[in-house]
């Protein structure tokens, strides 16, 4: 394979809180190829969104910072790039859509103005050209009657339509990477399916790589080629989606998968009881300790797990799991 589009190596992000400095992302590495779809999975607070924000250079100022590691986009180091350069990249080459379509659009401008704004800022289009382009984009994200809806205010649209507008805005400058931070969490199920269809089609047409952040295993199975399971700011398991679902090499992944009813039903004929992952996520104070952070919830726990942080075990099918017992699973 040629050089990856995005290469994240040993990324460590520290948050400064009242309790002190905690690594919310600890030694995370992954690569994203051209046109690839990679998914981040994990519970709330495990650092999925932080990873996305750090790629965009939007970590909360004064609170979060990249302590070490590198993020390379097209071979260009982003962690040390100037704010000017990052601003050029944001929205133009890497763009992002957010979880809450209801609040992600500015209520005082029409959706057309908001899409046109991005085009004018990055592509230097004229007002008229940007407006026409905005109408075309709305049509591309399948908003019916796009020509007249382009002058609508966000409050005149439904949640699903607003998320489409967000996608149109994110794709306006034909970015290389689209980061979708739980794009369908706030939408109902039928609309979710439509948004996934749309993202899949757009990806096929434009070749944009997608980083999707979600906690919906179904969405991952449907959308992504590779997935990263994160737990407490650390990589738990990474690899091709079908391989991981077929044979998870980390007890946490296993737990997550058995939490989803329809995947289990598809894989096996007999009916399992729906399981849960017992216990709760460790608090921020626990982050960064030199032991397996999942140990307290794990039924395979041995002394080893409490003594030292497990190293990554690599398997020949491309799967990589940070677990002392990965081979046994």
């Amino acid at each position: 394979m040629t050089e990856p589009l995005l290469k994240v190596e040993n990324l460590r992000i520290e948050l400064t809180t009242r309790a002190g400095v905690t690594p919310v992302i600890d030694n995370l590495s992954f690569e994203l190829g051209h046109g690839e779809n990679i998914s981040f999975v994990g519970e709330s607070g495990c650092g999925k969104s932080m990873t996305a924000l750090s790629i965009m250079g939007l970590l909360p100022e004064g609170v979060g910072r990249i302590a070490s590691g590198s993020i390379q986009f097209h071979g260009e180091e982003l962690t040390t790039a100037s704010t000017e350069r990052l601003r050029d990249i944001r929205g133009n080459e890497i763009s992002m859509i957010f979880q809450e379509p209801m609040t992600s659009l500015n209520p005082v401008y029409t959706v057309g103005e908001q899409i046109a704004e991005v085009l004018r800022a990055h592509q230097g289009l004229s007002k008229k050209a940007a407006w026409d382009m905005a109408a075309e984009l709305l049509d591309a994200v399948r908003i019916p009657n796009a020509k007249s809806r382009v002058g609508d205010y966000p409050f005149q649209m439904s949640g699903g339509q607003r998320q489409r507008v967000m996608i149109a805005m994110a794709l306006a400058c034909k970015p290389k990477i689209l980061i979708a931070d739980e794009p369908t969490t706030a939408l109902d199920v039928t609309v979710q399916a439509q948004i996934f269809d749309l993202l899949r089609d757009l990806r096929r047409n434009t070749g944009t790589s997608i980083i999707m952040i979600t906690h919906d295993m179904g969405a991952v199975a449907e959308m992504a080629e590779r997935m990263i399971v994160m737990y407490a700011g650390r990589n738990a398991e990474i690899g091709p989606v079908d391989q991981i679902i077929d044979r998870p090499r980390h007890p946490y992944t296993k737990g997550l998968i058995s939490c989803v009813p329809h995947i289990v039903a598809n894989l096996t004929e007999e009916r399992h009881d729906l399981t849960e992952v017992p216990g709760i996520v460790p608090s921020l104070q626990e982050f960064g300790k030199n032991r397996c952070l999942f140990a307290s919830r794990c039924n395979l726990r041995t002394d080893e797990c409490l003594r030292e942080r497990p190293p990554a075990r690599e398997f020949e099918n491309g799967q990589k799991a940070d677990c002392w017992h990965a081979e046994e699973l």
């Binding site: 965009m56 939007l58 004064g62 601003r87 050029d88 990249i89 944001r90 929205g91 133009n92 763009s95 992002m96 957010f98 979880q99 809450e100 609040t103 992600s104 659009l105 500015n106 209520p107 005082v108 401008y109 704004e117 991005v118 800022a121 990055h122 609508d152 205010y153 409050f155 005149q156 967000m166 805005m169 994110a170």
Partner: protein, 295 residues
């Protein structure tokens, strides 16, 4: 076009437009509606009144202290120099309104700039500018503006500046509070993620959303600026070459016991105008404050 469903949809969309909705809410406040009508009359008077009522407010036209109704040529009577009070009130309207608007503009301009910088950048900018704001807040306002006018001369621009400089702190605090709230909202992050610059984020993204309370405050500011000017003029700190309501009261105050109407009439003009401005401000608050919408 004639399809009834399309027509209905268009009607619904029209009715839901923010401005339409704000107007609906404003209209429900009857006091504000009446006040708006009166205020419109006052503004029209300020604009065309002097041309319509040709008499020079500085001309000594009749016996001093003619009571209202004594002579129908001078409906509101004459002051201590025998000048027509109605002519003075009319030309005073223009000055008072201009001072009110200009001083409110100055204070909103300073207040929004400071509040926006503080609310957006936080950190040391906030520390420095908020101490600066607090410094202005604890100054005795009337005394401070008197000092400014006494030092730099009692011209109209100086009076406007003096009033503006002592009254911007409230606007700054409101703007800061709105910025602190809005900067954390998702659409601001979304704009940032699409590569917007700080200047654009501040004035194109956040400010338009922060406007409603600022508009209400500015409306009230116009009223308090008129009052403030009247206070300064009463103390004689005003441009002697222009007639303003406060100045009429100030120059006639010595004769208050003998000819109270010379003070009462401009007083009523100030009272009515400031009351109307406050009521309109209240109506704007109803119209623009989403928390009151449910009522």
């Amino acid at each position: 076009m004639s399809d009834p469903v399309t027509v209905l949809e268009e009607e619904i969309e029209k009715a839901r437009h923010p401005f339409t909705e704000a107007w609906e809410m404003f209209r429900r406040n009857h006091a504000a509606l009446v006040a708006l009508v009166v205020l419109t009359g006052v503004v029209i008077m300020a604009i065309i009144g002097p041309a319509l009522y040709g008499r020079d407010p500085y001309d000594m036209v009749w016996t001093p202290f003619t009571r209202p109704g004594e002579n129908w040529d001078f409906i509101l009577g004459t002051d201590y120099l025998g000048r027509d009070l109605l002519a003075m009130i009319i030309s005073g309207t223009r000055v008072s309104i201009i001072i009110g608007l200009a001083a409110a503009f100055v204070s909103v301009f300073i207040g929004v700039t400071v509040g926006a910088l503080v609310g957006f950048y936080r950190g040391w900018v906030e520390e420095v500018l908020m101490r600066f704001t607090e410094f202005f807040q604890v100054l005795p306002t009337l005394l401070f503006s008197m000092v400014i006018v006494a030092l730099f001369g009692a011209s109209l621009p100086m009076i406007v500046l003096a009033i503006g400089v002592v009254s911007w702190t409230a606007v700054a605090r409101i703007t800061r509070a709105e910025f602190l709230r809005i900067r954390e909202l998702e659409y601001v992050t979304a704009s940032r993620a699409s590569g917007a610059r700080n200047g654009k984020l501040m004035f194109r993204v956040i400010l338009p959303n922060a406007l409603p309370p600022i508009i209400v405050q500015s409306a009230l500011m116009v009223g308090s600026a008129i009052l403030f000017e009247a206070g300064l003029a009463f103390l004689g700190l005003t441009d002697p070459n222009v007639v303003s309501w406060g100045q009429i009261i100030g120059s006639n105050r010595t004769y208050f016991l003998d000819a109270s109407f010379t003070v009462t009439i401009p007083g009523v003009a100030i009272f009515v105008t400031v009351l109307c401005i406050s009521l309109v401000g209240d109506g704007l608050n109803d119209a623009l404050n989403p928390k009151l919408r449910a009522r």
